[in-house]
C-alpha cells in the first residue's frame, strides 16, 4: 500500500537524529570488496541512486525533495519517477531527504524550493532521468546475472524479463548488484514520450491521504519531543518597529511559565510547559513597543501615495511596450479610462506557523513545515551560528503554504528561542492572531488603464499603469533588474511564462514602484491576481464601451496568441457563451497566462438586491503543456477559485496606526462549502512545454465573477474586497 513515510518523532529517532551529525536517512557508506560505494537507507536497503531505494520485498522508496502542502506534488513527482522506473506503483512509498543530507551530498537532490508552481515543472526532467537511470541499472544487473545482452531484457511492474528465454527476476532481487554498477551516461538515458505514460498522466490516488483522515498525520504543530517546552510569541505589531520593554514581574508565578525572553530586537516570547500556558501568560504580559514613524501609516495614506504613482509625470519602470501608446491615446477618436485597486492579503494557512528547535553547541535541529527546506536550513545555520554540518532540518507535511511557508521568519525565531535554552526542545507556535498580524502580505497596488479606439472601433492603444508595492524589492532585491521588478508585470509581459495574450498596435505597461512598510510576500498567484483583474475587467469594459461581445472583442486581439485563445474558446464553449443563460443568471469570462500555463475561467452568477451574489457555476480551462495527475490538477483549479474568491469577497488586510487591523477568521473570512459551486474543468494540455498548475487559475477567478456582476447589474466594480462595498454571497 502506498504511504508517505513521515520522519519518526519517537525517542529513538530523536536520539539518532541529534547524535548523528550530518547523517540521516542514508546512514553511511557500505564499501564492498572490489566494488564501488553503495549508499544505504536507514533500514539497510540500497540506493540505486538518490531518487530510488528498493527493498528486498520490491517496495520502492521514491525520494521527493519538494514539499507537499496539499498541492499533490509529492504524488506527482513519485508518478514521474515510477513511470520511468517501471516499478510496481502499488508498492511505492515516498520519503523526504533532508536539506542537511542534500548539502552533505553536494545538493544531490537539487532545489528544494516549492513555490511559483515549480514543484513539478522545474524538476520533472531530472527526476524522470533518476527513474530511468535506476531502471537501466536494475535491468543491466539482471542481464549481467543471466549473462545475456541487456537489449534482450525488459522491465515492467518491478519485474525484469529476459524475453527470449522467458526468465524473470525482480528489482528486489537484483538491487544489490544494480547499486554497485556505474550509472549510464546522461546521453544514453532516454525518456518516454508522455503519450506512452502509464502511471504519470493518470489520476492515481494521492499517497498521503489515509493519515489525513485518521488524525495520524503529523504536521509541524503536532511535533512532540522528549522534554519539549512550548513557546508563544508576539512580534512588534507596527512593522519595522522594535521591542522597548516588557514587565515580566506581572506574569511571575503564572502556571507553567519557564522563561520570558526577547527574540531578535522586535519580539518577545514566553516559554512554558504547554502552549496554552505560554499563550495565556503572553497575553497577560505588559509590552511596550518603540513604534516610530511607521505608526502613522494607514491604508488611506498608502492609497494616496499609490494614487500619485498613477500620474504619468511620476517615474515608472516599463515592462512591456510597442508602438507609442501615449501618442495614440492622445489622438484617439474614443478613449476609455478606469482605475482599479487590489489590497493586501494574508495567506492564512489553516495550520498557523510553527517550528520546533533543539540547540546545543554541537547541533541545531529543526522540525517544521516549509516550502523551502534549504532556506529553512540556511535560517537555522544563521540563527544558531553553527556550520552546515551541525545543522539539520526535518520537513513535515504542511498544513497549507500558499507562499507563506517559503519564508523563514518563524524558523529563525524558533532557533533563537531554543538557543536560549540549550538541550531543551522548544516548539514555537504562532497564534492565529500573530499569524494575521505578522504576515508576508500579498502586495497592495492600484492600476490606471486607458484604451483608445479608432473610428472603426478597433483598439489602437492600451496603457496599463501600475502603481504599488514590489515583492522582490524587499524579499529578493538581487532579482531586481536595474531596479525594476519584472515579476510586477506577471500576465502582462511581452513574452515568457506570464505573457500577455493580446496584440495591441500601441501598448505601454509600466510600474511606478512604491514600497510601503508592510512586509510583502509571494501569495498564491502572486501578481497574476491583481494584474488579471485589471486587464480582464478592463477588456470587458472596452468591449462593452463599443457594444461588442466580450469574447468576440478578445478574439480579435488574440490571433497571434493561439494558446491563450484556445483556453478562452474552451471555456466559452463549455459554459455556453453566446447561448442564453438560465433566467436571472449572468456570465463573465477571463483569461490569463501565468507560471508557464494558459488558463481561462467563466462564471455564471445571479445577483439579489444588487449586493447578494450566488455563484451557480464555474468553468475553467488550463493548458499546462503536460498533466501528470489530472485528478490533482482538477483539485488545484477548483481550490484556486476558493482561494481567489475568498480574497475577492472576504479578504483585504487594512492598515491602521501602522499595523494590520484583521486579527482572525472573524475579520478575515474564508469561503464555506455553501458558497462554492462545482468547478467544471476542461483540460487542454497541448504538449511541448511544462507549465505550473497550483497558481495560474487563481488569476481568472475574480475577474470572471466581477465581469458577470457587471453583466447582471450594469455596475462595474473596480475595488477589492467586495465586503467593503457591502456585497457578499447570497
Amino acid at each position: 500500500m502506498n504511504k508517505h513515510v513521515m520522519p519518526k518523532l519517537n525517542r529513538r529517532a530523536f536520539v539518532i537524529g541529534t547524535a548523528a551529525a550530518g547523517a540521516g536517512l542514508a546512514i553511511g557508506l557500505d564499501i564492498p570488496f572490489g566494488g564501488p560505494q553503495v549508499v544505504r537507507a536507514a533500514d539497510g536497503s540500497p540506493e540505486v541512486n538518490v531518487w530510488v531505494v528498493i527493498r528486498p520485498d520490491n517496495t520502492t522508496v521514491i525520494r521527493v525533495a519538494r514539499s507537499e502542502m496539499g498541492q499533490g506534488t509529492l504524488t506527482g513527482l513519485a508518478q514521474l519517477v515510477a513511470e520511468e522506473l517501471e516499478c510496481d506503483w502499488s508498492k511505492v512509498v515516498t520519503e523526504y531527504p533532508t536539506p542537511g543530507q542534500s548539502v552533505a551530498r553536494k545538493r544531490a537532490w537539487g532545489d528544494f524550493s516549492t513555490g511559483g508552481s515549480r514543484g513539478i515543472r522545474t524538476s520533472q526532467e531530472y527526476v524522470r532521468k533518476g527513474g530511468a537511470t535506476a531502471r537501466m541499472m536494475l535491468v543491466q544487473a539482471a542481464a549481467n546475472e543471466w549473462k545475456v545482452p541487456v537489449s534482450e531484457c525488459t522491465a515492467a511492474n518491478s519485474v525484469i524479463t529476459h524475453t527470449p528465454s522467458g526468465k524473470t527476476t525482480t528489482y528486489g532481487k537484483v538491487v544489490e548488484a544494480a547499486a554497485k554498477l556505474t550509472p549510464p551516461a546522461d546521453a544514453d538515458v532516454k525518456l518516454k514520450d508522455p503519450k506512452d505514460w502509464k502511471i504519470a498522466g493518470k489520476g492515481v490516488k494521492r499517497l498521503d491521504t489515509v493519515d489525513k483522515t485518521t488524525g495520524a498525520m503529523i504536521y509541524g504543530a503536532d511535533v512532540k519531543l522528549p522534554g519539549m517546552l512550548n513557546a508563544a510569541i508576539k512580534d512588534a505589531p507596527v512593522f519595522g518597529s522594535k521591542l522597548k520593554s516588557y514587565d515580566e514581574a506581572k506574569i511571575a508565578g503564572m502556571k507553567g511559565v519557564k522563561k520570558v525572553m526577547k527574540v531578535g530586537d522586535s519580539a518577545v516570547a514566553v516559554v512554558a510547559d504547554t502552549w496554552w500556558h505560554a499563550k495565556t501568560a503572553l497575553d497577560a504580559l505588559p509590552i511596550v513597543w518603540d513604534e516610530g514613524e511607521n505608526a502613522k501609516v494607514s491604508s488611506e495614506s498608502i492609497a494616496k501615495w499609490l494614487a500619485e504613482g498613477l500620474d504619468n509625470s511620476q517615474p515608472a519602470f516599463i515592462g512591456n511596450q510597442n508602438g507609442d501608446a501615449k501618442a495614440a491615446i492622445a489622438s484617439a477618436v474614443k478613449k476609455v479610462e478606469a482605475v482599479y485597486n487590489y489590497p493586501y492579503q494574508n495567506h492564512a494557512t489553516m495550520e498557523p506557523l510553527n517550528a520546533t528547535a533543539v540547540y546545543t553547541a554541537d547541533k541545531c535541529e529543526v522540525w517544521c513545515g516549509t516550502q523551502n527546506g534549504e532556506a529553512a536550513f540556511a535560517a537555522t545555520m544563521e540563527a544558531s551560528g553553527l556550520p552546515a554540518e551541525k545543522c539539520e532540518v526535518h520537513k513535515l507535511i504542511l498544513g497549507g503554504g500558499f507562499g507563506r511557508r517559503g519564508m523563514t521568519d518563524y524558523v529563525r525565531q524558533a532557533v533563537l528561542i531554543a538557543k536560549e535554552m540549550p538541550g531543551t526542545p522548544v516548539k514555537l507556535l504562532w497564534s492565529r492572531e500573530e499569524d494575521m498580524a505578522q504576515g508576508k502580505f500579498h502586495p497592495v497596488t492600484q492600476c490606471k488603464l486607458t484604451g483608445a479606439f479608432d473610428a472603426d472601433n478597433n483598439l489602437t492603444a492600451l496603457h496599463v499603469r501600475l502603481s504599488g508595492q514590489s515583492i522582490l524589492y524587499t524579499v529578493r532585491p538581487a532579482a531586481l533588474v536595474n531596479g525594476m521588478d519584472t515579476a510586477a508585470f506577471q500576465g502582462l509581459s511581452p513574452s515568457g511564462d506570464a505573457a500577455i495574450g493580446y496584440s495591441v498596435p500601441n501598448l505601454l505597461v509600466e510600474h511606478s514602484m512604491r514600497n510601503p512598510h508592510v512586509p510583502p510576500g509571494f501569495w498564491r498567484g502572486v501578481n497574476v491576481n491583481q494584474n488579471a483583474i485589471y486587464m480582464e475587467c478592463f477588456m470587458d469594459e472596452l468591449a462593452h464601451s463599443i457594444g461588442q461581445d466580450p469574447v468576440e472583442f478578445r478574439r480579435k486581439l488574440m490571433s497571434k496568441h493561439p494558446k491563450h485563445l484556445a483556453v478562452l474558446n474552451a471555456v466559452a464553449e463549455k459554459i455556453g457563451w453566446g447561448k442564453p443563460a438560465p433566467q436571472g443568471v449572468y456570465r463573465g469570462i477571463a483569461q490569463v497566462m501565468g507560471y508557464g500555463s494558459y488558463v481561462a475561467g467563466a462564471a455564471e452568477i445571479s445577483v439579489t438586491d444588487g449586493n447578494k451574489i450566488k455563484v451557480h457555476r464555474i468553468v475553467a480551462s488550463t493548458d499546462p503543456g503536460y498533466i501528470v495527475n489530472p485528478a490533482q490538477v482538477e483539485r488545484q483549479i477548483a481550490g484556486s477559485f476558493v482561494y481567489g474568491l475568498s480574497a475577492l469577497f472576504y479578504g483585504g488586510c487594512t492598515v491602521k496606526d501602522g499595523k494590520m487591523e484583521q486579527t482572525n477568521f472573524d475579520t478575515y473570512n474564508s469561503m464555506r462549502i455553501a458558497e462554492m459551486p462545482k468547478v467544471e474543468c476542461v483540460m487542454v494540455p497541448s504538449g511541448g512545454f511544462w507549465g505550473g498548475v497550483g497558481e495560474p487559475t487563481i488569476g481568472v477567478a475574480a475577474p470572471a465573477v466581477l465581469n458577470a456582476y457587471f453583466a447582471a447589474t450594469g455596475k462595474r466594480i473596480r475595488s477589492v474586497p467586495l465586503r467593503d462595498q457591502n456585497i457578499t454571497f447570497a
Partner: protein, 149 residues
C-alpha cells in the same frame, strides 16, 4: 484536575478548569488529530463530538466537558475499521493539505447521524468548516457517497 471521557477512556488531566478542551486534548491527553486553527470557534478545525454532537473544542472549557462523552478523530474508527465517512474520504481522495480535514470529517459524521441522507442544502447548512485549500467539491461528493454506503 478534571476527569474527561475521551474515546471511551476515562482520563485525568491536570489543567485549570477554564482551559479550552482543544488544548487539553492536544497537550495534556496528547491526541493531536484535533487541530488548532483559530481559537475562536470560526474555522472548525478543532471539531469533536460531545455526546454525539459536533462542537468546536476551542470554545468549550474542560470543566464544561466533564461528564460528557468526547470523541476525537482518533476515536472515530471502530477497531481497525475506518468510519464510513473516513472511507468515503479515502475513496474520493478528499484532503489536500489535510489540516482541516479531521474537523471536517467529525462535522460530517455528526451530520450523517442526524440526517443519514443529507441534501446539498443540508450540507450547506451544517458544514461550515473553513478549508483554505478549497477541497469543497470533493467534500460534497464524499458526503453523498458516505450517505449511500
Amino acid at each position: 484536575m478534571a476527569n474527561l471521557t475521551i474515546n471511551g477512556k476515562s482520563i485525568n488531566v491536570d489543567v485549570e478548569d477554564d482551559t479550552p478542551l482543544l488544548w487539553a486534548i492536544r497537550e495534556n491527553v496528547g491526541l493531536t488529530g484535533t487541530k488548532y486553527g483559530c481559537g475562536i470557534a470560526q474555522c472548525g478545525a478543532c471539531t469533536v463530538h460531545i455526546d454525539g454532537v459536533a462542537m468546536r473544542s476551542c470554545g468549550i472549557t474542560v470543566s464544561e466537558a466533564v461528564g460528557k462523552q468526547i470523541t476525537t478523530i482518533e476515536g472515530l474508527a471502530s477497531g481497525g475499521t475506518l468510519h464510513k465517512v473516513q472511507q468515503a474520504w479515502v475513496a474520493n481522495d478528499v484532503p489536500q493539505c489535510g489540516y482541516c480535514q479531521a474537523g471536517m470529517i467529525m462535522a460530517v459524521a455528526a451530520l450523517l447521524k442526524e440526517k443519514p441522507k443529507p441534501t446539498d442544502q443540508d450540507i450547506d447548512e451544517a458544514i461550515t468548516n473553513i478549508c483554505r485549500c478549497g477541497t469543497f467539491q470533493q467534500v460534497r461528493a464524499a458526503i453523498h457517497s458516505a450517505a449511500s454506503a
